[in-house]
Symmetry: C2
Subunit: 443 residues, 2 copies
């Protein structure tokens, strides 16, 4: 296996690992720049994480919030390769991936984060994460399957486990999925399961700190908790999860909550790449970069977005930036510009994050939003949230699809995608995955 | 586990196994009839098989051609249970399923068919079937994955295997998927893979008999072959597949065709149910029924649709009916009526299939259709095909979704759903599947 990309005369090669918000922005900015751009991603599509919770709660199809890279790049000169980055040989300027080696002149690590289970292998094995589309589809399937089984199970104890939902993590994702499931409980389940005792289904949102949405203002935190409570969600602050055993979530204070739908959205950890020196790995596995997103100690390796941490580089954010889409996009844009400047012999510009605001939605007509000077909650925030997210989705087809689905759900109170379905894995695919999993140190 | 359905005073219970065209029709007809109706299906959704090939070829999403049973039945009194039928205890009027036992007064077997590999375990393991939505999604994933790997593979031999597509079976499904893939090759791949040598990708359609669409007229067979050839498909008639080894399809005449996309749509076999006497199982595993769809030798067990065969019951079809949606629908409708007649003490009516015609689509503006006296090919047939299928899809939302997707694809020549994605299976689901797989003879 190899990348099968010929070097072009006089063109330096930029290899970007990861096609999330940061990597994609950078690839597009550099697509007609005189660089040969290669983007490597383990998926063949760009996904839109802010709406993944709607896939999990059966409101949207995965295809509505994802976009094939080859379609994105079909009118550019960017090379796409589907594969997983494994490690770097910095002295030889080579990146090793699951599909072979590729030489780079500039390497940009933009591989984002994965769920953080804080070392608890037990929770890692049992909990249902919701970071990727694949995980969201798995959660949807598990959730709907549990509802089905609650109808035919043998004991009240089991019924209680099957219906209870425990969400761990009170960030935006936790708040949003809790709200979406509360609406499903209220509007969809009574129709679907006329003989289900709706009171048995309880939605718990557990947060270890003393407030939800810690990235936003106190006002937004309180309002979102209030919204959720009004929708019937049991919001439990200051509750730390210790373990999950025998279908029970065990809290630090000794409380046990029975559930078979144990959703883990309690923090992230940067995706790892092999062979970087230990001293460049910071908090949460993030790669330490300077003000130009250059990995400490390297001249041609960069990292952007959630995967990196810029300590002291941006005066307003001495401890690093929040892990948000906007940071990644702005870093991707600036780094593209900086590489071009460097080629021309101009000095690079340091990164300064421009905070465009943040928002989270809780349910119908209920959201919280804050911008530099304005804070708003409720209907206006909800409407702003819709517009901002719709604008950000790639492609007309996807925008139309999301808009139509939202309108349909709003008018009918329905969730259209209540299918329990797994794609059958062909043997050829299983075999290939085994082969590629073995590629590590050489091929 | 149990079905948890209480007997209602004076209501006899009809248990229907399978919610395909026949089972669903029957459930709906009986929903307000004075019977207690229980429908068991292994999926939580009704699917629309005629368009499954469009899911496989990335033209439609699974949700567009499937519909949750609980939504269908939400305004009726039909009980839905998700589970797999295992065997019957006729002397006790009990059906054993993966989720427990259920007692019946009338049992209706409408579980349809599965792919027939004619006993070749090797082919069964390696080939990619396309009977269910799950299989269609698996095929889509495998196909797109093979295209991706064709870009980075090491040898010409492997590239050839990854790009060649071999479809075995020249019935409607084989013809339709061949046509859809030919259009993908022509319109989508050159844009997605500018550096792919399109000539390396060959689509073979292998059929053991001497013509395609053996259920239709010779004229339609010839026209469909002509259409496919004009689209670049290699149509090979009279070619029997013996085996698949080392990524090669081996034909009876000794020819070998290298491929890693080996699609098997070469025939079906009725789904089996345990404990029926051997003598009621006919050709292709189909359950022998009389003119009233009653299983031979039983008074309260019936079978309808593809799973059954009516030998000698319908004078026009002495050797049984073709396995088509219309047969199943008409049988489901009549059997519902007959059960009601029987309850009233009226004699049951024998079944006579009314052939409403048949059609198959090959590509843009290309289809074949025939009705009792009219045969048509090309644009008109294609348009009829669209209208008939759109009308048959359940639910306004799905109709709109399919129509918009078709219009979009027609105008843009694009296939929107080119995502390689597998839902992550939660441990709770894996555990449950293991438990339920063990339920066989008792629980």
């Amino acid at each position: 296996m190899s990348f099968n990309i010929a070097r072009e005369n006089g063109k330096k090669r930029v290899v970007i690992v990861g096609g999330g918000f940061g990597g994609l922005k950078m690839a597009n900015e550099l697509s007609k720049s005189g660089f040969q751009v290669v983007l490597v991603d383990k998926n063949n599509y760009h996904q839109f994480p802010p709406l993944i919770y709607q896939v999990a709660s059966a409101g949207l199809e995965p295809s509505s919030i994802s976009f094939p890279f080859r379609k994105i790049f079909s009118k550019t000169e960017v090379y796409f390769r589907m594969g997983e980055a494994r490690l770097i040989y910095p002295e030889r300027n080579i990146l090793q991936t699951s599909i072979g080696k590729v030489e780079y002149d500039y390497l940009v690590l933009a591989a984002g984060t994965t769920s953080n289970f804080f070392g608890n292998k037990h929770i890692e094995e049992e909990a249902i994460p919701m970071k990727t589309l694949s995980e969201a589809m798995g959660l949807r399937n598990a959730l709907l399957g549990n509802f089905e089984r609650s109808v035919t199970c043998a004991t009240e104890q089991e019924r209680c486990e099957l219906l209870n939902i425990v969400i761990v993590g009170g960030g935006a994702t936790g708040v949003e999925i809790a709200g979406a499931l509360a609406e499903m409980k209220r509007y969809v389940l009574p129709k679907d399961y006329p003989d289900m005792d709706n009171n048995l289904l309880q939605i718990y949102l557990l947060e270890a700190t003393d407030r939800l949405l810690s990235g936003m203002s106190k006002e937004s935190s309180e309002k979102s908790a209030e919204f959720l409570k009004s929708m019937g969600v049991k919001v439990c602050l200051g509750k730390k999860v210790l373990d999950y055993q025998d279908h029970k979530v065990i809290l630090e204070d000794g409380t046990e909550i029975p559930t078979r739908t144990f959703i883990w959205v309690s923090g992230v950890r940067a995706n790892a790449i092999g062979n970087l020196p230990e001293n460049v790995i910071g908090r949460g596995g993030r790669i330490k970069v300077d003000a130009f997103n250059r990995v400490e100690g390297f001249s041609n390796i960069f990292s952007i977005g959630d995967q990196c941490i810029m300590l002291g580089g941006d005066p307003e954010y001495p401890n690093g930036h929040p892990q948000l889409a906007q940071v990644a996009i702005q870093q991707g844009k600036l780094l593209a510009e900086n590489l071009l400047r460097q080629e021309k012999g101009d000095p690079m510009k340091p990164f300064h994050y421009k905070n465009l605001g943040s928002m989270a939605t809780v349910g119908r007509n209920k959201a919280v939003a804050e911008f530099s000077k304005v804070k708003t909650q409720g209907l206006i925030a909800w409407f702003l949230w819709l517009v901002v997210h719709l604008r950000s989705i790639l492609g007309i087809r996807n925008k139309v699809s999301v808009l139509l689905n939202w309108m349909w759900s709003y008018l009918t109170y329905d969730r259209s995608f209540r299918l329990i379905i797994y794609a059958r894995k062909a043997k050829e695919v299983v075999d290939r995955e085994k082969r590629e999993a073995e590629v590590h140190w050489g091929d």
